[in-house]
Amino acid sequence: MSDPHVTVNGQPRPLTGVPGHTNALDFLRGLGLTGAKEGCAEGECGACAVLVCRPAGERSRWTPVNACLVPAAALDGQEVVTAEGLGSPERMHPVQAEMARAGGSQCGYCTPGFVCSMAAEYYRPDAGEFDVEAMSGNLCRCTGYRPIRDAALALGRPTTGDALAERQSRPAPAPGATRPADLATALGLLRDHPDATVVAGSTDWGVEANLRGRRAPYVVYVDRLPELRTLSTAHTIEIGAGLTLSEVEAGLAGAVPLLDQVWPLFASPLIRNGATIGGNLATASPIGDLPPVLLALEASVVIASPDGEREVALADWFTGYRETVLGPGELITSVRIPRPLAGLTAFHKIAKRRADDISSVAVGFALDISAGVVGKARIGLGGVAATPIRALATEAALEGQPWTAATVEVAAEVLRSEGTPMDDHRASAAYREAMLGNALRKLWAEAGT
């Protein structure tokens, strides 16, 4: 079948004629598959979660994503499973049966989304104990989560012959023909369509479309371009811009310890399964969680255009509120992190909620300390200016100084005056300032001696 289509619960469904702004959730509900629900339309509640068959090397993984954020058109050629596809009231899937038995549903509205997140974890090939964090992107207002957690922990492993488990042993479907096949084609499309919107995981664009009514006359999907999906840790660490954060986490396998501190605090698995590292830098949010860390790591951004390639230090990347040096027709292809990595690194995120919240202040530390003296110090900040920034004065206050409580106290006072924090609904300016200084004090208390 060459016409655009998506396979839903084993059945091919045409995508022809579906408006560009229609998201996968509305598309599925229009098919009568009303199990997935709209709870927030911005990827915060997970009531719309469905499973998509995504590449995992030569195999594949059932990957839960927020259907409300994914444009229906982006599913061309893909395989999707919804709660209805997992089981029926008469023949419940093991995950569904356990949720029902344990009292994991009350009003039931969030339940199909929970079931999809749980099923993905259930099918994780290397699953040891069930990781309940797999459900941290799903909100429930009724149960208080205890029965859901217990249902998850009571799950066994898929049995032999489980069709969805077996599906994972084969490759994921190739990207649909409506997507550009390679980088050169994508760059050509951008050249020919100056008004094009570049979309990767759509975790930001989907919110714009759903909540703010933004519409794109032309979309170029870049998250499956092969050139943007490479990852290397051999010399320089180079991460393909089109890899999702979940893929980056898995691919790096601990090679950058500072990033491993970020992942559990970065949105939710449902978002990390969609959001790409390139997209995170291109949207240039001043309150993103990655930029402070990548600034501390002295990362750079590799950009391709029809004229060739250029590399920009991340410190020079942000030019204003949600603005970057990325020019028309250009695409981010990768992010480079130089070695050697600093010896002492930490990520401090201040937010109202422990998981799946937007930071009011985020601080990334990368310090080299040898013989009790601070060598190089790199500190990235989020939430305290119109762009993510480096804490240059604090870095200077630390470099060359003995790594002592006295140095930390002096530098913490410098750090609290960095940026221009403001009052908003997340935090007061005074709290943000206090949190900047305390981030360094906390680092000292936890790792100083």
Binding site: C40, A47, A83, M92, R101, S105, A445
Partner: protein, 742 residues
């Protein structure tokens, strides 16, 4: 025996497989549906000078724009005639002045953007304190009083004064408001609606359309959460959909986006309380004088009964000899605040818990001892004159929590931990709950049911309550099966409809199992009595008995009715016996606080809660845990912020999406959560000895707030009183720590 069995929710298999249908799911099964989108005010307070719908009608796919001129009946969406459906004076940012109907939601949205509205902005009152300053009040100003407060305070050896402020709370039911209206083949206006109060939805749809109630049927399949937010608020939306359906002849769907739901619908009332309290040397409460002012928002809605319940719960579990409590409802230019699980009870109780938490160090008495020595004992009455029945249950639950929660030994461990950790402190607290069950307004304490026994022995039940996840239907199935003495599988429940059971009360006040259970039981007993009379002592199997009885012309269906006996209330005097009984509970919570940031998490919670003889233990457990976590959200995390600046956004809700309004996620679940149902707790005179459970557990979360207070105190100087904002967000906790250090 089905009652008392631990069963999953009756729709659990449908929930988990995505087969349970909610109102908006029906859109995809209905043809030629039109979609409605509001035209919302950008001003908090303004006169609507002109509305031009013409440009909207130019938008492709726009079918009609609804305005005040289209209303054939009464242009009002409430019961107090202060909530015009199409206002000529907007009273909050987001107030809808018109609704656009389109072939698609996209067309309706673009149409709404095209409608031209001229506003004449007026000064707006946003913050509750501004309203108090400006004396902007609405409705009654009731007083609950007993004894002589002045004398009580004079006689007290320790007198303290203070102010306690608490924020409201967004319901954040996962399913936003939804209605689907059509005119059926018989000319009946049929509205599918996510409503906790189908009868009132029916009445308001009827008066907007200028019809009698018998012309309108409202059905609620189930709700994706309600929590009180769908008690009054759905009516106007249902009326808009019904108006659109009658005017266009096509089904009209109205489902609010999350942002519309957050900005257009009412929330839990924030409260301001100023108080003066007296204790004797033993810490026994002597007198309390307080003025409670609720933030009612732009119209009365349910603010008066919410205030009444707040005043009736300031005492919580404590005997206070001399009391004078004033209540006021402020009018502000915000959404019309409304019912929310607890219905003012939590706000009233927070006042006394805040007083005890703040005063304990000043009295030099451990908070656990201070609370328990003030508990009601047998024979004592509440300030509004109701004798407290079974007060010993509070003490019994308290002791059980102290024992099973190993509170004494853990307190010692915490003291050790705190001494060893400069930057991290732990705190533990125990708090009680006493919550009155019944609607304060006596008339609402009635319910109906319709039970059909079919010739094949199968049973279909209908009752006046709605299902929003609380497990009411599960309990009603169990009551029917038990009463009839048949297996649960023989009983089926049909969706709540106003043409099956009329004149229903809202599914609210935790009382729906009591009321509807009584009605279902009554209907089943009527049928059973007829069957027994027919059987005349013979032992005949159910199916056979039913078949024979039919042939013998025995009536096999019945309408059941129940009204709560023994309750009365004088709203003018604020005295009486408004509650059938009290539900009790006790919780102990332990928290850990990071001194650098104020971030906190709950390590362990132990709860003993009184549900009488549980009708359905798994359902009750779910209500206790879910209510507790929702209460934690209100007290420690959820943070409604309104623009109180003088800028152009004044009055705007700043936290108007899921990314800015944070409710508890899995990460807030306590590491350890132990819940036990109080044993030997049969409640006489209630269906199968059970007790209501919907609201009371929410207030068990006071234990977390008080534990935070203890942990904050551990950073500061011993014996200092700790003031803690509500909600106690990480930032609020941080500043409390800083004040203590200062």
């Amino acid at each position: 025996m089905s009652v008392g069995q631990a069963l999953p929710h009756e729709s659990a298999a449908l929930h988990v497989t995505g087969h349970a249908l909610y109102t908006d799911d029906l859109v995809h099964r209905t043809h030629h549906v039109l979609h409605a989108h509001p035209v919302c005010s950008p001003h908090a307070h303004a006169r609507v000078a002109r509305i031009d719908t013409g440009p909207a009608l130019e938008v492709e796919g726009v079918v009609r724009v609804l305005t005040a001129d289209d209303v054939p009946g009464v242009n009002d969406s409430g019961t107090k005639h202060d909530e015009p459906l199409f206002p000529d004076m907007v009273m909050f940012v987001g107030h809808a002045v018109a609704w656009v109907l389109g072939e698609t939601l996209e067309a309706a949205r673009l149409g709404a953007e095209a409608v031209e509205v001229d506003y004449e902005p007026l000064p707006a009152i946003v913050a509750l304190t501004e309203a108090i300053e400006a004396e902007s009040f609405q409705g009654n100003q009731p007083v609950v009083a007993r004894g002589d407060v002045d004398q009580g305070l004079t006689g007290a050896t320790h007198v303290f004064t203070g102010v306690t402020e608490m924020a409201g709370q967004e319901h954040f039911y996962l399913e936003t408001h939804a209605s689907l209206a059509l005119v059926d083949e018989a000319g009946q206006v049929f509205v599918q609606c996510s409503t906790q109060h189908p009868t009132e939805t029916q009445e308001i749809v009827a008066h907007v359309l200028g019809l009698h109630s018998h012309h309108v049927t409202v059905q609620c399949l189930r709700m994706g959460g309600g929590f009180g937010g769908k008690e009054m608020q759905p009516h106007g939306f249902a009326a808009v959909a019904a108006l659109g359906a009658t005017l266009t002849g096509r089904p009209v769907r109205l489902r609010l986006s999350r942002t519309h739901d957050l900005t257009m619908t009412g929330k839990r009332h924030g409260f301001h309380a100023s108080w003066r309290v007296g204790f004797d040397d033993d810490g026994c409460l002597q007198a309390l004088e307080a003025t409670l002012t609720s933030d009612g928002g732009c119209s009365l809605d349910l603010s008066e009964p919410v205030l009444a319940r707040a005043l009736c719960h300031v005492d919580n579990a404590y005997w206070i000899p001399h009391v004078r409590l004033h209540g006021r409802v402020a009018r502000t230019h915000k959404t019309s605040q409304t019912a929310f699980r607890g219905f003012g009870g939590p706000q009233g109780m927070l006042v006394i818990e805040d007083i005890l938490g703040r005063c304990a160090p000043l009295l030099g008495i451990d908070p656990i001892a201070l609370r328990s020595r003030n508990f009601y004992v047998d024979g004592q009455a509440t300030p509004y004159g109701q004798v407290v029945r079974h007060p010993e249950r509070i003490a019994r639950a308290w002791q059980q929590v102290l024992d099973t929660g190993q509170v004494a030994s853990r307190q010692a461990e915490i003291t050790e931990f705190n001494a060893a950790h400069e930057h991290t402190k732990r705190g533990l607290a125990v708090t009680p709950v006493k919550f009155g069950i019944s609607f304060n307004f006596t008339s609402f304490n009635q319910a109906g049911a319709l039970v059909h026994v079919y010739k094949d022995g199968s049973v279909l039940i209908n009752h006046g309550g709605t299902e929003m996840g609380q497990g009411l239907h599960t309990k009603m199935l169990q009551v029917a099966a038990t009463t009839l003495g048949i297996p649960l599988a023989k009983v089926r429940i049909a969706p709540t409809r106003t043409d099956k059971v009329p004149n229903t009360s809202a599914t609210a006040a935790s009382s729906s199992s009591d009321l509807n259970g009584g009605a279902v039981k009554d209907a089943c007993e009527q049928i059973l009595a007829r069957l027994r009379a027919y059987a005349d002592g013979r032992d005949v199997a159910w199916d056979e008995l039913v078949r024979e009885a039919y042939l013998a012309r025995v009536q096999l269906w019945a309408a059941g009715f129940y009204r709560t006996e023994g309750i009365h209330w004088d709203p003018a005097a604020m005295q009486g016996h408004p509650f059938k009984y009290f539900a009790y509970g006790v919780a102990a919570a332990e928290v850990e606080v990071d001194g650098f940031t104020g971030a906190h998490h709950t390590r362990r919670v132990d709860i003993v809660h009184d549900v009488g003889d549980s009708l359905s233990p798994l359902v009750d457990l779910g209500q206790i845990e879910g209510g507790f976590v929702q209460g934690m959200g209100w007290l420690t995390l959820e943070d409604l912020r309104w623009d109180e600046s003088d800028g152009p956004g004044r009055g705007r809700l700043l936290t108007q999406s899921a990314s800015t309004y944070k409710l508890p996620s899995l990460s807030e679940l306590p590491d350890e959560l132990n819940v036990a149902l109080l044993e030997h707790a049969t409640e006489d005179g209630v269906v199968h000895g059970s007790k209501a459970v919907g609201e009371p557990p929410l207030m068990l979360a006071f234990s977390v707030r008080e534990a935070l207070r203890a942990a904050v105190g551990a950073f500061g100087r011993p014996g200092a009183s700790v003031e803690l904002a509500s909600p106690a967000t990480p930032e609020a906790v941080f500043w409390a720590i800083e004040r203590g250090r200062g």
